[in-house]
Symmetry: none
Subunit: 219 residues, 2 copies
Amino acid sequence: MRLVIATCSVDYSGRLTAHLPMAPRLLMVKADGSVLIHADGGSYKPLNWMSPPCKLVVDDDIWSVTNKAGEELRITLKEIHSDTAYELGTDPGLIKDGVEAHLQELLAEHVQTFGEGFTLVRREYPTAIGPVDLLCRDADGKHVAVEIKRRGEIDGVEQLTRYVELLNRDPLLAPVRGIFAAQLIKPQAQFLATDRGLECVTVDYDLLRGMESDVLRLF
Amino acid sequence: MRLVIATCSVDYSGRLTAHLPMAPRLLMVKADGSVLIHADGGSYKPLNWMSPPCKLVVDDDIWSVTNKAGEELRITLKEIHSDTAYELGTDPGLIKDGVEAHLQELLAEHVQTFGEGFTLVRREYPTAIGPVDLLCRDADGKHVAVEIKRRGEIDGVEQLTRYVELLNRDPLLAPVRGIFAAQLIKPQAQFLATDRGLECVTVDYDLLRGMESDVLRLF
DNA sequence: TTATAAATGTCGTCC
DNA sequence: GGACGACGTTTATAA
């Protein structure tokens, strides 16, 4: 990794065109040739960048970074304040502990969240257009398809609509109702879901987790 | 901006929990206190980070970065290979061109792009499921909803479908047709749009911008 | 402050 | 390589 502190201007031409006036910044050149231009503030997103795979060509005080798609990042250097390089090696990588998968797991074990007498048919119930998060039966034995999101937005309602429509074509399952479950459901999604005849359930993740703890505490 | 090359392990605890095993990495500490941890590869996204506003507390070989929401980024340092700091000042910022807002602006002023005799009713026409980019009337005075994208993909067609369906329920507006306008329309989006009875218009951004220049040149 | 849509989104996964 | 969905999405903008 090469780190250059330099006063520079930058022009990007690709999916859009963008320009950075002359100012002091950090240029980070990674081992794969990618380049990031950071200011001393903002967030983790660089002011400008070129993602790998790409190629850096240095011609005097002009750096030109290009990729296969014909995008170009052109850096014009006025003054270099520092220029250092380090060998870091490949990173072992990040270990994550997920959230959404866990939410589905918890709800699968507590389908009564959706109503008295609910039972689980199966998780990830397969269909031609992808798996339904949960397929349940209500107290009357009727099928219910459940789509689970952390945040309920319009896309999720569309997804559930497609599932319910498809499942209702199966005479062994029909009639199938749909429940849209999320930690937070946005007003527009709520409107669309209601308009489509789908029910909305707001899920309390911490409460569910608490129920899980209670179950564990019994042993 | 402080740049530290160090062998470290990292633990994040907040919206999820994540862990980075001990390895050499770049730690970037910005003037606002935010911290980025970069490996020598990947893209512009750091392996881990804390966004401002946040506070960094250094206790010997443990760095703890916390924010108001109670999230914590804990960095355990084993060995520091380099530690430097620079004063960059505030950045003048990025100037962008070619974004969707500008495209909408240009099309709003040149609705005849969609057909002879087109007039604009209004931009961002409000509905219960969100604003329609452009609502126009054609030469016959019939309403036309226009959805504008930089790149026309399936989700944009879905969006327009919803708008047209909703607008057609309003007897004051019906019948409403839909036009899907984009700089580039993907074949799948084109197919779906046609299947839904929506028209597709490919927009030449540079041409539109040229027309704008022509108008300006008259003054 | 809150909510909503765009993003040079990025990133994984599946096909 | 393309399509699809999640993301500690982040970011900008309007209400």
